[in-house]
């Protein structure tokens, strides 16, 4: 018999070429290579042949089969590519459409700046101490050399509670200084702490709120003097404002719980309703400080001839306003969402000295 391999090949290749899609191509495959396909039919005829003819015919049929399979594969790849192309074209969307809304949270400036302050003083070995907002007369006044009749008590504009303790009304702490007293009464010297927290005074106007935030600092050992006080606070201010050129000034002042006492000013420029820290010829008070008064040391059972050191108190809200240009203290506590978003900090902006306090 003779095998019309050539014409079968031509038929197959033409059919493959005509197949318009994968399904049609598969039909072509079945019609040639399937169980009842033309090539399979040829193979079945081999059985009736013998010898060399059979060998030769087998070779030709296998060649034909390989050729068709190759063609099928090529055509399949081409059709798949075209189909993918068409799908991609069909799947196209307008990628300029806005994304799904996500809520953006923020950290309040008071929390952020408190952490900045903690990070800086940590570098100088200060631990973070805490004390209660509701205080008694002893810790807030008496032990801080502010006896009952002291005129400076009037400066404190104290909130008193209806409740009393030992015959005296309880109060809301007017400063974070009572944490000094609690720390020194509870532990043994040396002490090196800062104490941030809420403080309260009967005061409410453009620049005062009945609640505000302070950070107290206390360093007690056998050798710390005013030079250390200055060095520590100058280092702090330069680190906090992230500038080595901040002008600073220490003025004698008065606090019942320190002697000598000082106030620290930083250089600034005022004008056009703006305040720029670190330049200009004006001064701005940022904190009160001094050497811990001997009477305070005695009140916490320390011998002022043996132990000495400094304390300071600074307004957290105030330095937050200065560093970040927040104009109005009252807005800190209004929880206006727009304000919180604008002045708040990203949750991952954790202040560290290694990575920088702020971005």
């Amino acid at each position: 018999m003779t095998l019309d391999v050539g014409s079968l090949r031509d038929q197959a290749l033409a059919a493959i070429g005509d197949a318009a899609d994968l399904r049609a191509l598969d039909e072509v495959r079945i019609s040639f290579l399937g169980k009842k396909g033309a090539v399979t039919g040829l193979l079945k005829q081999l059985g009736s042949m013998d010898g060399d003819a059979r060998k030769e015919a087998g070779r030709q049929i296998n060649e034909l089969k390989d050729r068709i399979e190759l063609s099928l594969a090529e055509r399949k790849a081409a059709l798949q590519a075209a189909a993918l192309e068409a799908r991609l074209l069909a799947e196209r969307v307008d990628v300029t459409l806005p994304v799904r809304e996500e809520q953006q949270g923020r950290i309040h400036p008071v929390s952020q700046v408190t952490e900045e302050i903690i990070a800086i003083f940590a570098e100088m070995g200060f631990a973070v101490a805490e004390g209660p907002d509701i205080e008694d007369d002893f810790h807030n006044f008496e032990a801080l050399n502010l006896p009952k009749e002291h005129p400076a008590r009037q400066m404190h504009d104290t909130f008193y509670l209806e409740a009393e303790q030992n015959g005296a009304p309880l109060l809301l702490r007017t400063h974070t200084s009572p944490v000094q007293i609690r720390t020194m009464l509870a532990g043994k010297p040396p002490f090196r702490i800062i104490a941030p927290g809420r403080t309260y005074r009967v005061d409410s106007d453009m620049t005062h709120t009945p609640m505000f935030h302070q950070v107290e600092g206390l360093l007690i050992d056998r050798r710390t003097h005013m030079g250390h006080l200055k060095g520590c606070l100058i280092d702090f201010v330069r680190a906090y404002f992230e500038s080595d050129r901040i002008p600073v000034r220490f003025r004698p002042s008065y606090f019942p719980f320190t002697e000598p006492s000082a106030e620290m000013d930083i250089g600034c420029k005022r004008g056009h309703g703006e305040l720029v820290v670190g330049e200009g010829s004006d001064w701005l008070e940022i904190l009160g400080c001094g050497m811990v008064h001997p009477k305070v040391l005695r009140a916490v059972n320390l011998d002022p001839d043996e132990w000495q050191g400094f304390a300071f108190g600074m307004g957290i809200d105030r330095v937050a306003m200065l560093k970040y240009g927040i104009p109005d203290l009252r807005t800190f506590f209004e929880a206006d969402l727009r304000w919180l978003k604008h002045y708040g900090f990203m949750p991952l902006d954790v202040p560290t000295m290694a990575a920088g306090l702020s971005r």
């Binding site: 996500e102 949270g105 923020r106 929390s111 250390h228 008065y254 800190f332």
Partner: protein, 799 residues
């Protein structure tokens, strides 16, 4: 405290200019708040004379003047109505800046007549509102006199913030003493020489204090001055008082005000002819009244010191004088009072009556007892100078107290506390100039504190004195270094945990707020305070109670934001809430809420309001951040009453409540005036299990199974009151080893299930740690799961 430069110079011989003085004052601890020099703008303005005044040829209302200055004759065109030949006023020459306009004067030609200057009005010089004409100086001052002198401008005014300890610097003499000690001049003393009596007129004074109350007035000095003539003060005195903000009244009254500021010595003058009988000092009696010079009638009470005559109370000692015996223009005989009053009683009296007088400010801080008699003489002399009169003898009741402390001062304290060493000479000179008496030295001094320095009592005070004279800026700064190269953590685990919770809440899209620690009393009661912690003196009724919960403050913030048009959002606060009125009875609490739409209208997804599962997710995430093991936590439905009773829950670990969450109660929202949905959570951090401190850093080995996991779905029909939590618990307990995860993918209710029933569809992932599960094992596990759920919940497997 205000003073003027010329006034200061009566106490201090100095060439220093006002800038130098102001800087030194601040360096000394007398902080300068401002320096205003009303004369500074008048530099170059001079007295000139109108030598010829003719009508302007071209303009009816103008004058063409010839004005003589020290430089010659100038042509000046002027429109003032009060122009006349011979008038001496203030001439501004071209180039000078007119204070009122801020613009420089230029030469001009006005309708053909050249104008080479301007004769000024008070208003143009910014010295008053008078614009009726040009300044017409009385007394023909010399041409060329600077305007500042001719107009009697007092000079630069310095405003100081005097700290309450520096009582002595409430007098200009005290300020001058500090400056002299700092090397800025030489201190001058007022004329304290005794004024010889010319009459023996006197008023008897007696003390009538209960035993133990003698401190109310240890010393009272009086002096009668006869035949005075009261009237307006001379210009210099009126000018000086005006410059520091006081209103001149009459010479006698102005003199008392003058000494109050000049010598920190408040005193009083009674009209002797209005006094009835002799003077008596005693404690006030309940219900007595005094019509004060402040124009108010004060109701007096025991504890207040009063001066009386036979008519009753005539003056409130050290606080305010009375109208009935006050001096006026008809006064001819006066009784001068110079006394010491107890600072504490004075302060208390002033506070109780709400009187903030200059006298009170000084007596309550303490005046100089040693100055009582000298200042009596100075006051007498001044009264005689300005009002004439014959003085009687000085009548003294009580004694001049001397309670000057003595301090043993070790020089070593200077280097110990201030970190600087000072020369012996600097220490001694400085202290002596401040009025300290010093003996001994150089290592140990015996120091007597001056009678006017009530603030100095310890060695540390002396260190401050010598250090502030030396200058705080001269102390070399020394850095404080940490005690080890790599320092241990300085925040406690609790503090760290609070920071982490804050940042996690913010990362979940909540804005951190900080709100008041206070709230209205009603809110405190509504939110769990059975006995609200109340303030005696709240700033506002809405801020009267300490908050037992943060939520009400956040709800108020929601209302404010909604009012501003911000109708959705989320915020939280982490801060104290107050349990009891006692120190330490407060907790660190975290509260948060979401309100309005969680998602607005969007092209991809439908809009959706917040629901309680949003805040349940928040609170579980925050508790996890805080270190709580929420895998083992249960949810109970007993949240506090401010939540919706059917849509709220508590997260518990057995009996311990970790947190509450849910929809806010509609009644609470209605009360707060909020019309958008609000879901909220709150929890205390202090009562959570303590964060781990030491050890246990090892995370353990991961035991991830290498074998195939299979998922099987089940749908159970249960009674409505069976919780999904109970159902899931039954699933987990059925196959503790194989059940890896269980999720709920549908909850269905419908008529086919019957009333009060629901279908809960769950997907369970099964995986073995040690083998591939075959069909038989999976089937066995499924059956155990179904059996467990059926037994625990009465469920039926949905077919």
């Amino acid at each position: 405290m205000k003073l003027t430069l010329p006034w200061l110079k009566e106490h201090l011989d100095t060439d220093a200019d006002v800038e130098t003085i102001a800087k030194k004052l601040t360096d000394l601890g007398l902080e300068v708040e401002g320096v205003v020099d009303p004369g500074a703008a008048l530099e170059g303005f001079q007295v000139a004379e109108i030598v010829e005044a003719a009508r302007h040829p071209q303009a009816d209302r103008l004058w063409a003047l010839k004005v003589r200055s020290v430089d010659g004759i100038h042509s000046v065109v002027c429109g003032a109505p009060n122009v006349r030949q011979g008038l001496r006023g203030i001439l501004a020459r071209p180039g000078l800046v007119i204070p009122a306009s801020g613009e420089a004067l230029t030469k001009a030609t006005i309708r053909g007549v050249p104008s080479e200057g301007m004769m000024c009005s008070w208003r143009e010089l910014k010295l008053g509102d008078d614009h009726d004409g040009i300044i017409d100086l009385p007394g023909a001052p010399e041409v060329g006199t600077p305007a500042v002198a001719a107009l009697g401008i007092e000079g630069p005014v310095i405003e100081l913030k005097v700290t309450p300890d520096r009582a002595d610097c409430f007098g200009i003499n005290g300020i001058a003493r500090d400056l002299a000690a700092a090397g800025l001049g030489i201190l001058k003393q007022r004329d304290f020489a005794p004024v010889a009596p010319e009459t023996d007129a006197a008023v008897r004074t007696e003390f009538d204090f209960q035993p133990g109350n003698e401190r109310a007035c240890p010393l009272f000095v009086s002096r009668v001055i006869r035949s005075v003539k009261n009237g307006p003060s001379p210009a210099w005195l009126a000018r000086r008082l005006t410059a520091i903000g006081l209103r001149p009244i009459s010479a006698l009254v102005d003199i008392t005000n003058y000494l109050t500021f000049d010598l920190d010595r408040p005193l009083h003058v009674f009209d002797a002819n209005k006094l009835r009988g002799h003077l008596r000092l005693r404690e006030a009696v309940e219900g007595e009244t005094l019509e004060g010079l402040d124009g108010k009638v004060h109701r007096l009470a025991p504890g207040m010191t009063v001066i009386c005559d036979d008519s009753g109370v005539i003056s409130l000692a050290g606080v305010v004088g009375g109208v009935s015996t006050s001096c006026d223009e008809t006064t001819t005989d006066v009784v001068l009072e110079v006394a010491l009053f107890d600072p504490l009683r004075t302060a208390e009296t002033g506070r109780r009556l709400g009187i903030d007088s200059d006298a009170r400010a000084r007596f309550e801080r303490g005046v100089d007892p040693a100055l009582v008699l000298p200042s009596t003489e100075f006051a007498t002399r001044l009264i005689q100078q300005l009002c004439g009169g014959r003085a009687g003898p000085v009548q003294t009741t009580g004694v001049v107290p001397d309670s000057r402390p003595r301090i043993q001062f070790h020089t070593a304290q200077i280097v110990r506390l201030a970190g600087i060493s000072l020369e012996r000479d600097e220490i001694e000179t400085g202290l002596r100039q401040l009025g300290f008496e010093i003996e001994g030295g150089p290592d140990l001094y015996d120091i007597t504190v001056p009678s006017w320095r009530h603030d100095v009592s310890t060695e540390a005070c002396i260190v401050e004195e010598v250090t502030r004279l030396h200058g705080y800026d001269q102390i070399p700064p020394v850095s404080v270094t940490k005690m080890s190269a790599v320092a241990p953590p300085v925040v406690t685990p609790e503090q760290r945990r609070r920071s982490d919770v804050r940042r996690q809440a913010a990362a979940r899209g909540l804005l951190e707020a900080v709100t008041w620690s206070f709230m209205p009393e009603g809110q405190a009661r509504r939110f769990g305070a059975e006995q609200p912690i109340l303030l005696r003196n709240p700033i506002h009724a809405d801020l009267a109670a300490m908050r037992p919960s943060i939520l009400p403050n956040l709800l108020q913030a929601v209302r404010r934001n909604v009012d501003r048009g911000l109708r959705s959002g989320g915020m939280f606060e982490l801060g104290p809430r107050f349990m009891e009125a006692a120190p330490g009875q407060q907790r660190w609490s975290c509260a948060g809420l979401r309100f309005g739409e969680l998602r607005g209208r969007h092209w991809a997804d439908p809009a959706r309001n917040v629901d309680l599962f949003d805040v349940k997710a928040d609170v579980l995430a925050l508790l996890t951040t805080a270190g709580a093991k929420i895998e083992t936590a249960q949810i109970s439905t007993d949240a506090p009453g401010w939540f919706h009773p059917g849509r709220s829950g508590r997260v518990r670990l057995g009996p311990q409540v970790l947190a509450s969450f849910g929809e806010m109660h509609p009644a609470i929202l209605a009360e707060a005036g909020i019309e958008v949905p609000v879901v909220a959570f709150e929890f205390d951090l202090d009562t959570l299990p303590k964060p781990r401190t030491k050890a246990g850093r090892n995370k353990g080995t991961l035991a991830a199974s290498p074998f195939q996991a299979v998922d099987r779905d089940f749908a159970f029909v249960v009674a409505e009151d069976v919780t999904v939590e109970a159902l899931l618990k039954a699933v987990r307990q059925a196959e503790k080893q194989l059940v890896r995860e269980v999720s709920v993918f549908d909850v269905y209710r419908g008529p086919s299930l019957g009333a009060d029933r629901k279908s809960v569809a769950i997907s369970v992932r099964l995986q073995s740690q040690d083998r591939t599960l075959d069909e038989a094992a999976i089937e066995a596990a499924s059956q155990r799961i179904v059996a467990s759920v059926v037994k625990a919940t009465g469920a039926a497997l949905r077919s």
